[in-house]
Symmetry: C2
Subunit: 479 residues, 2 copies
């Protein structure tokens, strides 16, 4: 195995020995970033790089705290005044490289500090820096103006780390349960939901030559990977996809994006809707439990630094079984409520945001599956129940963003699906989808979870635009 160098930690060395070996090989280089240095048990000479989070210059010493965005932790540099000829460059946000001695810290709240022998200013910062104060709580709206610099804000880099960790946990859950990840296509001539909220795609070349790149019209950005995932599911019993989806939805609110990520799973040989509910509940709790147990430091960094979070009691969702009610029961519950709803609940109509909030309230803020909706409110691919009126499906509603997951048993009966496709005037474009039912069709079910809403739910993030680095929504595609 080839030996790797920092910043690539060889797998067979622990942090300490890795550091030692690096120091030996690269004593004159920037071989550590702040997080690594602050976490190691090594004590001795080293070279560390980072961005200045805070600096205090006293008569005899300067105290400089640097960060690297890889964790919440900062590293304190202690530098004799004689080392620094001009302190004016050492301001918040500037980047430095420090050579010195890593020692146990006598100060409270940190176990290590770096006694500097040499400090190089790598990159200056100037007065136009939008996050010049390290104590002021900038509003999320203000921070969002500087998309290209947002990761410099500790609360936002904490969010990006949490997002990355949640991604890992989701993949881990599926891997542990034998799922195969499938990359469903982004460009497609199918529109799964048929809602007309799709983005169309052309090529710049096409604009000049008037020739379609794909040789056909109607190429769109995917709104959901489901149909394609079902195709893969016809030969692989458990599949999932975790990729971007797009909807040209004009809703300008706290829970919609034009570009967002979806976690979609499809499971063959399933025994009915309850199997699907248990899968979704299991996945949700798996991620919620692991992230709250292991990433408390970043969760605090996210919520303490920002005014954009409103934490709810996530343990309530982890420790209680999610509720299950049918759509019919939900409507009855809403009809009997004394609340003054803007939209009167009615059988056959959609369940609104205000209704969801009420349903969650009477269920002690524990997530609720609403199952078996009227067929006419749902897309063509859902399994028609014996009553002929409802379909075997669910929406999962949760505190915070409301609707988090949608799913259903899929119609696997060739004749019934054919009829539904005809009714929806989609038989021609979805012939391939119907075909799957002709060759070894199996009972199967699947779901789609909005990843950004999941993050809102987990961390109480109020505005969905603050759950990803470069949000896209109506009238906004900056950078």
């Amino acid at each position: 195995m080839q030996k790797s160098i920092f910043p690539f930690k060889p797998k067979y060395l622990n942090r300490t020995s890795c550091l030692v070996s690096l120091i030996k090989r690269f004593s004159d280089d920037t071989r550590l970033t702040a997080s690594r240095a602050s976490a190691t048990t090594y004590r001795g000479p080293c070279v560390v790089g980072g961005w200045i989070k805070a600096a205090r210059h006293q008569r005899k010493f300067s105290f400089i705290n640097i960060i690297d965005g890889l964790s919440k932790r900062d590293l304190q540099i202690v530098a004799p005044a004689s080392l620094i000829s001009d302190v004016s460059g050492l301001r918040v946000g500037a980047s430095i490289k420090v050579e010195g001695m890593l020692v146990d810290s006598p100060a409270k709240g940190q176990c290590v500090e770096l006694q500097a022998d040499k400090i190089d200013l790598l990159g200056q910062n100037d007065d136009t820096y939008p996050f010049v104060s390290n104590t002021h709580a900038y509003s999320p709206d203000y921070i969002r103006q500087y998309l290209h610099l947002r990761s410099k804000k500790p609360e936002f880099s904490a969010m990006l780390r949490l997002r990355s960790k949640c991604r890992q946990l989701i993949h881990k859950y599926f891997a542990e349960n034998d799922f195969v990840q499938i990359d469903t296509p982004i460009l497609t001539t199918n529109d799964c939901e048929g809602a007309g909220e799709t983005f169309s795609v052309g090529s710049l070349m096409q604009n000049r030559t008037k020739q379609s790149f794909f040789g056909e019209t109607g190429v769109n950005l995917t709104v959901s990977g489901q149909l394609h995932l079902e195709a893969s599911n016809s030969g692989i019993a458990k599949v999932y996809t975790f990729g971007p989806a797009f909807r040209a939805d004009n809703a300008v609110d706290t829970t919609h994006l034009a570009e967002f990520y979806m976690i979609e799973g499809e499971i063959a040989f399933i025994n009915g809707l309850e199997d699907l509910l248990e899968c979704v509940e299991d996945l949700t709790k798996y991620v919620a439990k692991s992230i709250t147990e292991n990433e408390q430091e970043d969760i605090e960094a996210l919520s303490s630094g920002s005014t954009g979070c409103e934490q709810h009691d996530i343990t309530r969702c982890i420790n209680n079984k999610f509720h299950r009610i049918t759509y019919t029961e939900a409507i009855k519950l809403l009809e009997s409520a004394s609340e003054d709803f803007s939209f009167k609940p009615k059988y056959g109509e959609d369940i609104r945001r205000e209704h969801e909030k009420y349903i969650l309230k009477v269920h002690d803020s524990v997530p609720v599956f609403i199952t078996d909706w009227p067929k006419k409110l749902k897309p063509f691919y859902m399994y028609v129940n014996e009553d002929g009126e409802t379909v075997s499906c669910m929406d999962l509603i949760v505190p915070g963003p409301g609707e988090l997951v949608g799913g259903s048993v899929r119609e696997n009966r060739h004749g019934v699906l054919k009829k539904s496709l005809e009714d929806a005037d989609m038989l021609e474009s979805c012939q391939w989808y119907l075909d799957i039912r002709q060759y070894g069709s199996v009972p199967h079910a699947g779901f789609g979870m909005g990843f950004e809403r999941f993050l809102q739910f987990l961390f109480g993030i109020k505005q969905i635009r603050d759950t990803l680095p470069f949000p896209r929504y109506a009238n906004n595609c900056r950078l």
Copy 2:
């Protein structure tokens, strides 16, 4: 922790006890798929679902092999003739549910078999099934005609599993090395490469209302996440992205797709190009080593069933240090070659496919980094070397697909970058990118690796369209 049911394996139970508990709870359900049953050490009553891979009907017994696509393994069902009233439905590709007794198998080549008590035909298959023979080696071109059924072919489901495993390994590598995954946007107004091969995006609504959804023109599909990744890298020292990228490239060959996946990494506080090379070499070998050591079964399934693979000696790439030559050295090498090239190699010109092949040949088919290319052949963002003529960059060429990775030290000097942007007439659109250099700029470098080409390299897959489920290329956007 809530108890999950099959097909979701509770984390605290091993396969055997899980199976036992499931049998107890769901004795009348389809609770196992073929792979799980064939891998378990449990012996006893169970219910298994799967697709028929082969069936032999003898006078006293039927022998039916079923698969589930979750592994190469099949499970043999032994059924007394009395159990099956009509064998005609039990054909290749049909799906069945079997109740019976899992026992040690007396037959060679399998450790377990299922003695059936009851067989339910879940989904029939018919004569129009395109993969009706389980012995005929269908050509990749033939199989690719049936995109929606491809996962039913064992060699293609093996490819999908390997793709999924490689994805996991890549994420694992980055996680072990403290990288944070960033979702760079798919929709963007930036065109990183400036090659004009971008897809443009509108909305169907826009076609009707003539109002742009994003309130601006020039929204494209990303060609690379690099610029945005660098923005995130300005506050988080190690970041990567692994997502789709799009190029309206008319090349109809074995190594180009219009929609493909890129693994891109950016590393701050880096010490120079060699650090980047070591990272790329380390990542490549990490995945190659792990996948060849652990997934030999699927690699065999992929290459044995198909005529679409041409395996090269991957261990040669794992066990040798990748070569490093400069562009200048590469040109000299090519000029001195006795080969009869279609394109005469010349300093200042690109290195062609035929040239790459020659360079690999004289380097014993071990991957070669070609570094320090002339500035005019490369994009604006690369670090200009001291000579003022070349940039600090690399292409990694490998056996099979040729160019696998491109990367460079990024220009972090504000003044130099500003000049390059002005020369490329991109200053206005990339002002934000230049801005990053104004606030704590650091030496940093990054790379982009084409995931599908990586799979071609790892498994010798000749046609890139066979490395992903739904390929998109010029004149093709089926399904």
